[in-house]
Symmetry: C2
Subunit: 267 residues, 2 copies
């Protein structure tokens, strides 16, 4: 663990990346991202996390209890410590968890490159137009819980390293490999070229989820709540439905994904 660097002045230039967190969320951070809380920092420092920790900012009251967590932090990585009031003034709101990190993204992967790196038997989640941060975060959490190998996102889906998406994913978006970019159609091209069968979840799906015989390489495709997946993509995939009660066929998209991942992964 590096020697802690005390910060007394909220305007200290060393902690500029932590300033005005919510305003920067809107603007974006380029190759940087913000991780919040102990659980997220633990995953960010795990050996299978491809991203790097640029620096850590911890409140004084938390530093003592975090020894184990901070032990793997490289000695050259700045570990800033501030009292809660200074930390809150920098960030712009009360940061009750008292633990923040600035991460630096690993080089982005393309869909084809990511799919090529997966084993012969693999399960991928493919998102088209899922722009809500909570939903993308929850989908990564569920993907990790059921051991999905990777997540693909089209360009209109939300960045999994957006602050809130990381938090809702409980850090899963830091460790589950993903590729983001292009159109849903290009994503399907890449899946087909890599030998994946694509299962498109839709209330009007042709096959009941419980009747799906999963191919060794399978992709679960989900669209945004409301519009769902475009017809043009559904026409190229096996469409799958989850039977629901009449009159209330409404599951959240992340919940739909969890139910499908359960059905496709149980022994």
């Amino acid at each position: 663990m590096p020697a802690p660097l005390p910060i007394h002045d909220p305007d200290d230039p060393r902690i500029a990346p932590y300033r005005a967190v919510r305003e920067r969320d809107v603007v974006g951070r380029g190759e940087r991202f913000v991780g919040e809380g102990e659980v997220v920092l633990r995953l960010l420092l795990a050996p299978d996390c491809r991203h790097e920790v640029e620096s850590v900012l911890v409140s004084e009251r938390r530093i003592e209890g975090l020894g184990d967590l901070l032990a793997p932090l490289p000695p050259e990585t700045p570990l800033y410590v501030a009292d809660q009031a200074v930390m809150d003034a920098v960030v712009g709101f009360h940061i009750h968890r008292g633990v923040l990190a600035i991460g630096r993204r690993a080089p982005a992967l393309g869909a084809a490159e990511l799919l090529a790196s997966l084993p012969e038997r693999a399960l991928v989640v493919a998102l088209v137009g899922v722009s809500n941060h909570d939903n993308v975060g929850a989908i990564f959490r569920n993907a990790a819980a059921f051991g999905a190998d990777a997540v693909l996102l089209d360009a209109s889906s939300c960045d999994p390293l957006y602050r809130k998406a990381i938090r809702v994913s409980v850090g899963a978006s830091l460790i589950t490999p993903f590729a983001r970019g292009g159109t849903g159609s290009e994503m399907l091209d890449a899946l087909e070229a890599a030998g994946f069968e694509t299962l498109a979840l839709s209330p009007a799906g042709a096959v009941r989820l419980g009747d799906v015989e999963r191919a060794p390489r399978a992709a679960l495709m989900l669209g945004a709540e409301g519009p769902g997946l475009p017809e043009s993509l559904m026409a190229r995939a096996k469409t799958v439905r989850i039977d629901m009660a009449a009159g209330f066929d409404s599951l959240n998209v992340a919940t739909t994904g969890a139910v499908a991942l359960y059905a496709l992964t149980r022994g």
Copy 2:
């Protein structure tokens, strides 16, 4: 549809129940509750909703498009109309949906009474210590989607008619019958007396979810994220687990419930 009553003054005493919505959320509203948005109002006016609409407040720009929705409103129910600025001033924040209703709760049901009213084959969701509004709302949404017959909540679980819980449930908490009160142990007493087998979801459950043979009357018991269900309750139930990937056994409680409801209801 009643004749709309125009409101020009945010201090008009007729719309007092709509004032300072967030502050009242904290204090509570006794036998009243607030419903937001078109989908929620539609369910509130549905024949199977046990609760009553006391009044409706709609923004001027929305009123024309809502004719179908407002048609079943009894002629004696006040339908207030205000321009968006007045509505925002009353409520205390920008109410972009432009549709609010004050509801009046149906008489509360006891657990025993509710269970006695259910059919011979019935599925109930039982919550102990689930105090988060989002989670309770999402659990009602999932319960309705999979056709669960009722929800039981102990006294420490959140009120399903709390504003945010109704919204997250997409109105399901208005139509799925529930009983709230007492301890988890008293809830189990009532379930046992009514011939229900209780399945307690836990990561350390003895039986895999996929191996459960469901009894005709079954209750799915869920605890709060983090602490989970108390040992004393698990000892009285059949404990059930959802197998997850090593190293990331973390599903949200509402998601856990959805996966279990799927497994217990698929034909």
